[in-house]
Amino acid sequence: MTPHEWDDLITLHHTRRHFFRDCAVGVGTMALSTLLARDSAAQQRTEPLARDTAAQQRTDPLAPKKPHFPAKAKAVIFLFMAGGPTHLDLFDPKPKLNELHGQKVPESFTRGKRFAFIKGDAKLLGSPRKFEKVGQCGMDISDLLPFHKQIADEVCWLRGMRTDVFNHGPAKCFVNTGSPQFGRPSMGAWLTYGLGSESDSLPGFVVLQSGPRGPRGGAALYSAGFLPSVYQGVPFLKGPQPILDLAPPKGVSLEDQGEFVEAVRDLNKLRHDVTGDPEIQTRIAAYEMAYRMQTSAPELMDFSQETRETLELYGVEPGKPSFAANCLLARRLVQRGVRFVQLYHTNWDHHGGPTENLEQHLPQVCKEVDQPSAALVKDLKRLGLLASTIVIWGGEFGRTPMGEVRESTGRDHHIDAYTMWLAGGGFKPGYIHGRTDEIGYNVVEGEVHVHDLQATILHQMGLDHTKLTFRFQGRDYRLTDVHGRVVHDILT
């Protein structure tokens, strides 16, 4: 490198606004690629828009960055069961609870506890579900989840989950951002901020939704918080055009759009020649990536390349939006280098009542997610992707051993113990971690707090949760706040 180039490298780098805030990670790589892009841009002025950029240096803020240490996993698929699934009817059978059915809960369990809806003297509710011990690991799985039985030995079962907050919005926010207050970056944003994305034609953090309604909490759940907005989750829309404003306007063909982007690029370059502002280079790169999104999305969404057998594995009905279709799409996204895919499926909020009870609605929502969840694990495995992909299954909290007395049965929100599961990405397969007491109220062994789970997921992605920070209001913020420990017991 000549001294002149050296100057350019440093000056170009320094002139980027908010330098400290935008690129605390991967500093050197980014500076070099910016420089290279500038040079190549100058040479390519008259050339048509690059269609194949695989070989080009990435100049965008989503360009891949090095982790803190070698990563076990490259991507995350978070199957978010919005509303709070009942561990007691799905994963954590309690004969004692059935025995005490209808009795008041011993006060020793509830002293000092707060609940959303029920009162302290609520009566215990046994589970009518039939459980079976499956796999080498002998995991107890409810009759509501027959397909889960097939992946028992692929999954790392966390029976000792705990969270801090018991209302849906704050609790969802807590799982996603590490804080019950809205306004912090979510895990997907932290990961793309720390690692960038392997894909140069799709967003790094994609959010999919299925079920009767969106998750409570809305955009705050996949927000970039105080991180640059390029790291915020991009919600995919139902239908053939998954990203807002992805399709060119009516009457504009993709070819016309290419001409449009070229004209914008050329005029932007002319302005760059005058002002010298490197931000214009970033904008040129943004338009080119946007254009690549337009061309790559139809291919992404085209399930016709999938075999009938694959569609049947997931239970996808072509053309019909569903959790199953989202699971398959999640696999396709990960295959294309997307870093973090989050699927929200509603509704798991079974309080009892005409629209959300344990008798009819729990079986129904189980049926919607059981087969596709298992299929995703199996499919990733046969494609050789499971080792490098973390699949997370669970909601914002569990449900109480006490019943809610409405016209049908249900359970209240429960934060002291619940079950989640993980597969792939270096998590121990066929392993049961943690144990709850005899009515499933408290964790007695192997507790994993939400912050611990977050720390462990970051760890598997090659990031130290205490070092992935962003300075805001004079303080270094992180996903796990000042808490969290990596749970090595659940790692291979």
């Binding site: 606004r17 330098f19 306004g183 919600p235 004209a263 943004a286 209001q473 004079g474």
Partner: protein
């Protein structure tokens, strides 16, 4: 490339512009406190004193032997920083990165020079400093401060921006719209020496000035038209938004502006307008979710009011002290709950605007019933009552206000920030470090109220408010504050790039009657503001982040203003000021991700073309324009917006039906208002968007595109050209 990375990081982290020589006088506030605060105070500071060592207190540091003034080598602080034994060396790896050699050298020089501690600059009330005298004294004192500092670093101001750039810049900054071609021509053809000043005066008198400045303030106020959390039901508080616009247009003095918003209800014979102003602290989110504990969320709103007040007026991060004594700043947990106590006795009524008193009474009764229904967890009843309130509110405009309770609530320190764990009782009071002379925590007749708080905030003895405010105003016009950490003036905040200028401006602002218009005029009439933003190699080398302002900064426009400039260019803008939120088109899919399918009765007619700030704000599902272009998230007070640059922004500008509609209208405007010939039309279009003539290369490129589009479809060719112009970086940038 590892070497490059380390070198770059090293260069960046030093932060200081000129290398310090051993002889140079070390300034504790500028050079030393940031190092100690960053690396030491967490364990040896105000909150924690591991090994009984406290480094933020000179006397105690000396007693402990950590510092021996005049003898760095004998000081344990230095010995431990240089300790050869890994385990003994400070700071320990788990606490943070080791200090750089440069930082250790600074500490050594400081101790050798006597280890003087000076109080934190921001906690000492500002005095008006002398304006630097220069051989060619600039008219505007701002320039004297800036030029003097530039000269010390061998730099000078850039030449003034050309007139087209200047009128576009100042119009965007003051009113957030594009100047019309007529306004541009008037300015270009005005030979008077005060031609620019005339433009500034016209803009300051425009009703759109209030809109532009109000939107900045609404970021701080976390303004939204809905309640947030999971239900995110609608609320009516737009009269507060309009109050802010009016206040800026009236140039309401900032002390009055503060007083009315924090305590308007407590003023004797409070007017309707003064009550509306208290909506500032009603902009907190409100949880309507079933099964919530009303007290828990009342506490959360009070915490929000405390934190917001600390951030907006004091530039302090109070939130840390909610749970424990502040780790860095002299802000104890008790201080926190004293500030909290000011807001702990507020009721939260809905005030009808122009309605009758019985309607207000009716609403109040319903609210009481809602509270009761919530307590027993009766969801259906709550929903029914809420619907009833909405029905009444639909009949008359109303807004949310604060009202002090007759009997104040008692306030206790909340142990670890848990409102169920009460600690010591406290009385309303100002942070001790900022107001040492105040009373104690014994309940007395002279209990302080929000009025006292507001008056203290804007008193001459308050060290922070004026500085924090002028700093944020500076940020509007240069993209970065004189203190870069605009929300942290504490020990962890950055040191001002121009401390004297900051103080001069703070005192000037206060002494000139807290007038925003005077302050804004002073800033935009400075040569510093008016200079060119074109990149300079010498600046890039000597001051890569342009902190010394040897040129202006190019700034991407805010989300709402991007809509406004597109409306300006298209000719579609409806300039109406104020009123309830409106519903410009947005894709239906926006609500797919929320629990509630909110109504979005798409505006037709003139309301479709209102300024961006009037778009109805659903907190949990904001209009995609806002989320895509870094709008304030309306969850917590936002003191500075990000300016990101993303592919989704490109998609939005290029393809969103709203912008396509604007581009089509602009295309029509080019053909109808522009001259007959293509070159003339292109020049006209450039003047509308950028106030300038195209260069030959630009005109040629645009013409080539026009010809290509004509071949495809002559009817839409100009609309296509318009679309290209509206997608250029320059279009959404203030140069």
């Amino acid at each position: 490339m590892p070497d490059v990375r380390f070198l770059l990081v090293g260069l960046l982290m030093t932060g200081c512009l000129a290398p310090l020589s051993a002889q140079e006088k070390i300034d504790f506030g500028r050079d030393i406190r940031p190092i100690l605060s960053n690396a030491c105070f967490k364990c040896h500071g105000p909150a924690t004193q591991k090994a009984q060592l406290r480094l933020d207190d000179r006397q105690r540091a000396i007693q402990r032997g950590a510092i021996v003034p005049g003898r760095a080598a004998d000081s344990e602080l230095i010995q431990r920083l240089l300790c050869a034994d890994e385990d003994g060396r400070m700071p320990p790896p788990e606490a943070g990165a080791r200090l750089s050699a440069a930082d250790i050298a600074k500490l050594q020089a400081w101790i050798d020079q006597g280890a003087a501690y000076t109080p934190h600059w921001a906690f000492v009330p500002p005095q008006r400093p002398a304006v630097p005298s220069l051989p060619q004294a600039p008219q505007n004192p701002i320039d004297a401060f800036i030029v003097a500092q530039l000269q010390r670093h061998g730099l000078s101001l850039s030449p003034p921006a050309d007139k087209p750039t200047l009128i576009r810049r100042v119009t965007l900054d003051l009113i957030g719209l594009l100047p019309s071609p007529q306004e541009v021509d008037d300015f270009l053809n005005d030979p008077a020496p005060n031609a620019y000043e005339k433009v500034v005066d016209r803009l300051l008198a425009s009703p759109h000035y209030g809109e532009r400045q109000a939107r900045h303030w609404l970021d701080l106020a976390r303004y939204a038209d809905s309640n947030g959390y999971t239900i995110d039901g609608p609320r009516s508080i737009w009269p507060y938004r309009d109050w802010v616009i009016q206040a800026f247009n009236d140039d309401m003095p900032f002390d009055q502006f503060t007083l009315e918003q924090l305590a308007g209800d407590l003023l004797p014979q409070a007017t309707l307008s003064q009550k509306i102003a208290t909506g500032f602290h009603r902009n907190t989110p409100f949880n309507e979710e079933g099964g919530t504990d009303p007290e828990q969320f009342r506490v959360e709103r009070t915490v929000d009011r405390t934190n917001t007040t600390a951030a907006v007026w004091l530039g302090l991060t109070g939130a840390c002290a909610q749970c424990h004594d502040h780790k860095y700043d002299p802000f104890s947990q008790k201080d926190y709950y004293r500030l909290y106590a000011f807001f702990n006795s507020c009721d939260e009524p809905t005030l009808p605007i122009g309605g009758t008193p019985d309607l207000e009474k009716k609403i109040e009764e319903l609210q009481a019933k809602i509270a009761a229904a919530r307590l027993v967890g009766n969801d259906e009843e709550t929903k029914k009552l809420q619907a009833e309130i909405r029905k009444i509110q639909g009949k008359i405009p109303s807004t949310l206000v604060l009202r002090e309770r007759a009997t104040p609530r008692r306030t206790f320190v909340q142990l670890r920030g848990d409102f169920l764990r009460q600690g010591e009782e406290v009385q309303p009071g100002f942070p001790t470090a900022l107001a040492p002379a105040q009373g104690t925590d014994t309940p007395a007749a002279g209990r302080l109220t929000r009025l006292d708080l507001a008056r203290w905030l804007t008193s001459a003895s308050n060290p922070l408010t004026a500085r924090v405010t002028v700093n944020r105003e500076w940020q509007k016009f240069f993209g970065r504050g004189i203190v870069e950490t605009e929300n942290d003036f504490g020990y962890q905040g950055s040191y001002p790039t121009h401390p004297e200028l900051l103080d001069w401006l703070a005192v000037e602002f206060r002494e000139s009657g807290w007038s925003f218009k005077k302050l804004h005029k002073l800033i935009v009439c400075s040569e510093t503001y008016k200079q060119s933003s074109v990149w300079r190699r010498d600046v890039a080398q000597k001051d890569p982040r342009n902190t010394l302002l040897a040129r202006q900064n190019r700034l991407r426009l805010e989300a709402e203003i991007i809509r406004d400039v597109a409306l300006s260019a298209s000719g579609l803008l409806n300039p109406k000021v104020g009123g309830p939120g409106v519903y410009p088109p947005q894709p239906r899919e926006v609500f797919a991700f929320t629990q509630s399918q909110h109504p979005w009765p798409e505006s037709t007619g003139p309301d479709r073309y209102r300024r961006g700030m009037y778009t109805f704000i659903w907190r949990q599902s904001q209009h995609p324009l806002l989320t895509t272009f870094d709008g304030a998230d309306a969850q917590v007070s936002c003191t500075r917006r990000n300016r990101s640059n993303t592919p989704l922004q490109a998609l939005h500008l290029a393809n969103d039906p709203v912008f396509v509609e604007f581009a089509n209208a602009f295309g029509t405007r080019i053909t109808s208002e522009g001259p007959a010939d293509d070159a003339g039309k292109i020049a006209f279009a450039f003047r509308v968007c950028f106030c300038r003539q195209p260069t030959a290369a630009e005109a040629q490129r645009l013409h080539a595109y026009l010809e290509a589009r004509r071949k495809a479809n002559p009817a839409t060719a100009w609309a296509a050209v318009a679309r290209v112009l509206m997608n250029l970086d320059e279009f959404i940038t203030r140069e």
